[in-house]
Structures are given as structure tokens and as C-alpha cells.
Subunit: 351 residues, 2 copies
Amino acid sequence: MQTIELHTQSRPSTVLCGAGALDAAGEYLAGKDAFVVTDSNVYRLYKERIAEVFPAARVCVVPAGERHKNKNTLFRILDEMLDARLRRNSFVAALGGGVIGDMAGLAAALYMRGTRLIQIPTTLLAQVDSSVGGKTAVDYRGVKNVLGAFYQPERVFCDPLFFRTLPPREIRCGLGEVIKTAVLDPATGDLLEAGKDRLRDLGFLHELACSCIRFKAKVVEADERETTGLRKCLNLGHTTGHALELLCGRRSHGEYVLIGMWLESFIAEEEGVCTPAYAAHVRSLVALAEPRIPAFPNAEEGLRFALLDKKNTESGQVSLVLPKARGEYAELSLPAERYRGYLCRLQGGNA
Amino acid sequence: MQTIELHTQSRPSTVLCGAGALDAAGEYLAGKDAFVVTDSNVYRLYKERIAEVFPAARVCVVPAGERHKNKNTLFRILDEMLDARLRRNSFVAALGGGVIGDMAGLAAALYMRGTRLIQIPTTLLAQVDSSVGGKTAVDYRGVKNVLGAFYQPERVFCDPLFFRTLPPREIRCGLGEVIKTAVLDPATGDLLEAGKDRLRDLGFLHELACSCIRFKAKVVEADERETTGLRKCLNLGHTTGHALELLCGRRSHGEYVLIGMWLESFIAEEEGVCTPAYAAHVRSLVALAEPRIPAFPNAEEGLRFALLDKKNTESGQVSLVLPKARGEYAELSLPAERYRGYLCRLQGGNA
């Protein structure tokens, strides 16, 4: 088991990574007042295991899927927390993918101004990305993650056991964030390149996940609330990714991030942020998980959603985090019209 | 103008106290993207002044009154923030009493995981209590402040100008928290005793407010999130006060705090926490603002609400913060039945 410590301004957080992490979570909550939030998919697969590991916990099961990451589901969780008469020192355990982590995390942040929180991410994506760092949120009125809080879990338990039941598409989705990290972090990049033929090996995916978490922990420690700018690097590919996700919504977050990175590598190249060779290298990494970039015909709507992005600080401008060189990134604000021009490149995909 | 600095873990906060503070708020937001949240009462009285001080700001006016401190009003504010396309670096200015401060503060905390926030409290209660320290919340399903966040305003502007339009009942309400502070803080206690005949003098009320804010700032600095226990002292009288507020809801928060302190002084005395003389002294301070304690016949319901209190950490126990001696307080957990017995004392008021 690997232990990664995060020392943030608000509170310390410890990530435990490895086989046995789920049992460690059970031990951590033994004898405590605990409330497990999970979704219908995870519950179907792990109902007995949950009962075994958290014998005394109340379990709140919400419908699975990104489209349920909204105000209604948030208040359903809060209602069940109230019904269970949770107290401020009770534990909320978010057991599921990123949607569960974000919503249960926000419920834990709001309930009595904050109950104790642990994250038990069950997808590759949630392990490498959303469970670490304390970002919680729901989507609202068509804007992704527009209502939320920074709220650190006191423990994160990342168990590779859950990878066995992930559909291939979920793995591809997680690889989106892994590949993003590989572009930002040379250590993860080298690991990925060395093992690029082993991307179906669950043990190797776990190694990649640990490397991504170590990198993310360093970034979050340095800039918990995205105030100094450093944490923004994690948004590489995300401006376009989020916009397309809002526009279409049929693929997964990680896949949209991959598509976003693909498009933004061209922007980086044409805006002179990186060399053509480096942009091609980024696209070759994207292709490891997403060899075929689909077509997005509606640039106008894509732009509309990109303009709603939280990262934009000036109106009429779209903020991007672009690849620059090995382990380097750059921020760039583009006028809306110019960005729309780049979006048109997606009209034909890479077919 | 007095300046009181708060250095908390999450972010620094500065309180400006004195005539001219409202204009200073206007200067602070000049040229910024600003969104003012206020209520229908404040807007009726200060509409022109608001337009003058914040000429470029959007103004969101919500219905006045404690019963509107709920999820619906919170989402109405968030909807208007979205409609106004506020960004993460936009400013939310909460201009009103404690209800507005709590709701606009929570909206600012949630929107894009946190926009910039300033508080401009317009009541004595909000100036001495809720605007300083970063507690934000709404009531939900009959439980006071059960959904909220700790979110520090970057500036608080306390202008005594607003006292001129406060009804006497609002002043009495603010005196509830002033008297609570006087019990906890010898400096405020001495100031209050020396001027107890000048409680209708608005200048003296402003002096008292500054003294209370200085005390609260020290407490919040030492324990921003109520984790070390110190900040709990501010809940003196509040367990009973909140329970009665939920039970009846016709008086104001400060009046319920006074009634709570009155009852809890007897509990402190009978549980051996303070001497009978000190308990009588606390009641004499309460009597400065609330000479007649009304009758609350329904102890059973009062207990039910007290058991919902966030401060309770064990089920079946009611947590109280009781006066102990000059500048000292003590925490006590009472079994529910025992606390119910004390509540019965309120059946006849102090008539």
C-alpha cells in the first residue's frame, strides 16, 4: 500500500493506494457513525462487499450517470443525511466514480457546514482525478460544476480491486486524465511511454494511477483553491473538453478531455505556444486511448458553452491551458471569434 | 474608522467599522464586476443610496424575513448570479441583516466554488455577529443553518448609518448578541455596564458593536471552523435559543438568545457550573434588553428541536455552552430528559 500525504491550507488529507484499500476504509470507519453514498451501478456490483466492509453504515444509493449530477440528487443525499440524523462528526463515505465523489463531497461540505468525509473512488478516472484535491460540485442550469466547494476528504482509499468490473469505455475515460497528467508530469509521461503496450493490464493501470495521484497531490498542495494559478495546469484540454461535453454529453468526461487535448494541441501549435513536433507528440499520446476523433459540426454552440467556463476571467475571451514542452504548460486567452475558428477544425474529426 | 484584521487559516478578512464605511465599500468595488444582494426592506429604505454608492452593480432583491432564509431563496440568488454571468473574480456584496449575509455568503461560497465576497451588515445583530467570521447557511427542513459553509468575506464594512432606520425590536435583537459577548468578554462587559443607561444612544451602540467585533475576531482567528472548541463559546445561550426559535419563530434571533441565556443561567447554577451570584448577574444583563421572559409551554417540542442542534455530538444528549465566571464559559452535555426538566421552567416565563 502506498501512502501519499497532502498538506493543504484547509486540512491534511491522506491517500492510500493499493490492494486492500477498501478494507482499510472499513477499518477506518469501524465503530464510527458512517453514511455511505454510492450509485445504482456500484451498488449492484458491490452490495455484499459494502455490507461486509461497512456493516453498521447507512447506505444511500442514487441513480448512476453524469446526468444525475444535479441539484435534485444533491438534495436527495442531503435529505437522507438529515433522515439518518447525521451529526457534524459523522462520516460520509463517497463510494463510486467522480459523479458520486463530487456530489457526496458537496453534501458533506454543506451539511452542518461540514461533516467528516472519505473518498473511495471506484473508477480509474475518479482515482487519478476527482477524488484527490477536494473539488466538489454539481452541474446546474447546463453549466458544469458551477455550484460547489473546495472540501478536502480526510482520507482517500484507492483500491485497484474496482478496476476488474470497469467496462472498457470507463478505462478509456480514465486514460484521458492519465494522458493529460503524462503531458504535464515527466514522471508519469515516462511511465506511460515505457508501458504503452500494457494499457489493458490492470496492474499497470494501478501504477499509472499512483503516479498521477502523486503529481496531483503536489499541485494541490501548492495551490489548493486555484488562486496562484498552478492548479490551473490540471485543466489542460478541459476548456474544449467541457464545452463539447455540454454540447453532446454522450461520451464520458475523460473522452472529452482527450478530444479537447487533441484540438488544443493544434491551437498550441498555431498560436506558437509549442513546436509542431511537440503538438504531434501530444496527439500521439491522445491516440493511445482515443485513436479516432469524432466530428463536432456545431462550432457556434461549442463556443457558447466554452464562454460559460469558470476559468474565463474576461468576457468575450476563452481561457485555455495549453501544452508547451515536456512538463510545461501555458495559459492563453483567445478572443471568442478566434477560438470559434479553431472549433471548426472539429467539423470533420480526424477521419 | 476602526480597522480590525482577521487572520484565519482560509483567507485574511478585514473589518472596517465607522461612519463612512458604506462609502468605503463603494470605493472598494469601484470599477469591479459587482453584484449586490439585499432584501426588500433594505432596498425600500436605501434604494437611492445603493444606486449612488454602487452605480454599476446589478442588484438582487429578495423578500425580507427569517422565513425566507431557505433553499428557494438561495437558488433564486444563484439563478440571478448565473443570469448576470458573474465570474469567479466577480464580487458579491451582501447588504442587509444576518439573513442576507448568511444567504448571499453561501451563494458566493458555492458559485464556481467561490466568488469574492464582501459583507455590509445593516443591523446591529449582523454587525456584531453574523457578518464577521465567515459562517454562512440556510435553514432546511426545519433545522436552522443546517446547510452552509465557512466562507470568509474579504472585507466587512460596518456603518452605524444604518442604525438610524432600525426598529426598536431590531436593536433589542442586536443587544442579545451584545449581551452574550458581554458575558464572554470582560472588555465588552465593562463597556456595557458603564453605559447601561445609554442603550438607546446609537453612538454608544456603535462603540459596543466595535468591541464585540474585536472579541469575535480573536475567537474566529483562533478557531475558524469550530474544530478546537474555542469558537463554541459564541454559542452561549444558543442551544435553547435556537430550539425556541424553531418552536415559535415569532421573535427575533437575538431575543431567543436572550431567553436562552436566561434559562441556561439557571442550568449553569443548578449544575454547579457557576455560582448563584454569577447566574443572577447574567440574568441582570439579559434584563437590560429583555426584562420580561415569555412563557414557552411546550417543553417536549423544545427538546425535540434542541436534539437537532448541530453542536450535539452524542445522540440523546443536548450540548450547552454555559456561563462560568467573568470571561469564562463551560461546555456541558445533558441527557435529554434532564434538559427537558429545565425547559419546563419556561412554562411560566419570569412573570
